[in-house]
Symmetry: C2
Subunit: 359 residues, 2 copies
Amino acid sequence: MKLEQLQTPALVADRAILNANMRAMMAMLEGKTLRLRPHYKSNKCAAIAHKQMELGAVGITCAKLEEAEDLIDAGVTDVLIANQVVDPLKIRRLAELAGMCRLTVCVDDGENAEALSKAACEAGTTIHVLVEFEIGMERCGVADPDLYVALARKVSTLQNLVYDGIQAYAGHVSHMASDEERRSYTDENAARLRSLIELLKHNGIEVHTLSGGSTGTSRIKAEQGLYTELQAGSYLFMDSTYRALGNLPFRNSLFLLTTVVSKRGALTILDAGVKSLGVDQNEPIFLTMDGEEIKVDHMAVNEEHCKLFSPDHDLSLGDHVLIVPGHCCSTVNLHDRLYLFENGEVVDRLAITARGKSR
Amino acid sequence: MKLEQLQTPALVADRAILNANMRAMMAMLEGKTLRLRPHYKSNKCAAIAHKQMELGAVGITCAKLEEAEDLIDAGVTDVLIANQVVDPLKIRRLAELAGMCRLTVCVDDGENAEALSKAACEAGTTIHVLVEFEIGMERCGVADPDLYVALARKVSTLQNLVYDGIQAYAGHVSHMASDEERRSYTDENAARLRSLIELLKHNGIEVHTLSGGSTGTSRIKAEQGLYTELQAGSYLFMDSTYRALGNLPFRNSLFLLTTVVSKRGALTILDAGVKSLGVDQNEPIFLTMDGEEIKVDHMAVNEEHCKLFSPDHDLSLGDHVLIVPGHCCSTVNLHDRLYLFENGEVVDRLAITARGKSR
């Protein structure tokens, strides 16, 4: 079956590039102390998580309990929920799941840690814990080093919890345009983390794991040698946002295949909009089926349409256009299926098993 | 079961307000020539489409062939696809579906009309057609009145097609802030449409149907008496964008139920982001469980988190927050289930049967 024979809009990935991206990541980490714990939020396909494990990932990172359930249900043996879980029912479920795999969760609150400990005791399981350190993203985590030490100590003493180390995710650094800027922020954060680790040691608390990082800071973190785990996810697919950074060894493998459904002069209308394309980051990029970029004067993404004003380009009704999404993670979450293609032929279809699993 | 016992994030709707919105729409149209053909894109629940038909809708509007299939599969008898369908396989499927209900599709191209006619002949069915007129939104449709007449004539003469009239959707008017502005644009468009209808009549082509409009222009169109069908969809749920207009007889019924998962000073983190909340229009609004608006200094919607900086508000870990989405249509499309509640109790759960059906 040819790629153009798929009903559109269809989420498709170039299998050769996808595989090359996976290999490039493992090559980047070779000989380093940094291990890959790729983030499930970007692909949400159990089949891809297994492939990442085969290639040497130490485990999988995910954002939500439902994603962890999906991974565990698919036989993944080491899962980190890189977020806080506070709902009582969710905590009970998490404690049960901890009996099915090595399960780690993030904590930034003492009462939450107590609730996790209680549930783990009741379930007769062990929950691994990373206490989250707020590293400038202004989101979850403990920002004050002394409060951090107090919480880490508390976690260490609570029954059926194991304090493994630090979660520190600086997502805001990942998309900084210049490599120098990303490097300088990452160095700054590393200094804060080193003194935190020192303070913890001084208090008799050992840090086995320092987990975080993203595609944007992967090379810097690999060279730096401080983090033990890298949570990159987008390196598989890339998107127009990461493409703009330009200095990563990963190429765009993910596209939305669309059809021209209306044409009037320089205006071209495609059959895909925000219901099949994540629009929470950069604008998408439009390519012909030959991979040539379609220069657009301006564009808009409506609910079920993209509007391209492209006076220089001659697109016809029924033509296909490949869209490089602005954000791969939010785009994947809109689809149930990911088609893999090679040399213009559809070669596989993966179920996006964790699509919509945000609970 | 109490609303707060739902696992979050959960999409919920106040049943009493939802029902009141449906009644308010029928009351607005009572005694007018404008009939309701509500848009499925906003709710994507077969159960709601049936309720709308029961209350007097003449049929349902949808955006995509897959949505039409969902409606027809659920026994809806009169469906308009308010878009162009150009893919050959889709056209064949559309021609088959036209044998299962009264099915109408939009056309803005002569060759596309020919392909539809050929498929309908082969399937032995009749496809109803609205030729789309471009009314200022700069999207699909024929913009030139003479070209419009030529295409309408062509459709009229093609076998197994019936020219029913005009699709004219001015979506850009729907969200204009002032009632006067919406009224003035709607009047301007009406003048263009009246002269088009005149020109068609002069050429012996009768216009039975003039379909279009939205929640934002519903009252104006009802009073104007020119359109025969109103394609409003958001009136069921409303959102922060429509709420800002302030002069519609509809109230917010749709909310995303979320939980506070992290708290640090004035910063509150909720467990829902762009993967469960449409962010293609206005910012969301945050409410306590009592419906009181939470004043925020600033906010951000990340992938799986909302960050609220709200120094004046005392939210605690585990508290629930109701979010009024910025855009109801793109939010609904992220969920598989819509919970209905009344007086704080969950009273029903509707399947969002057309979630993700963008093909």
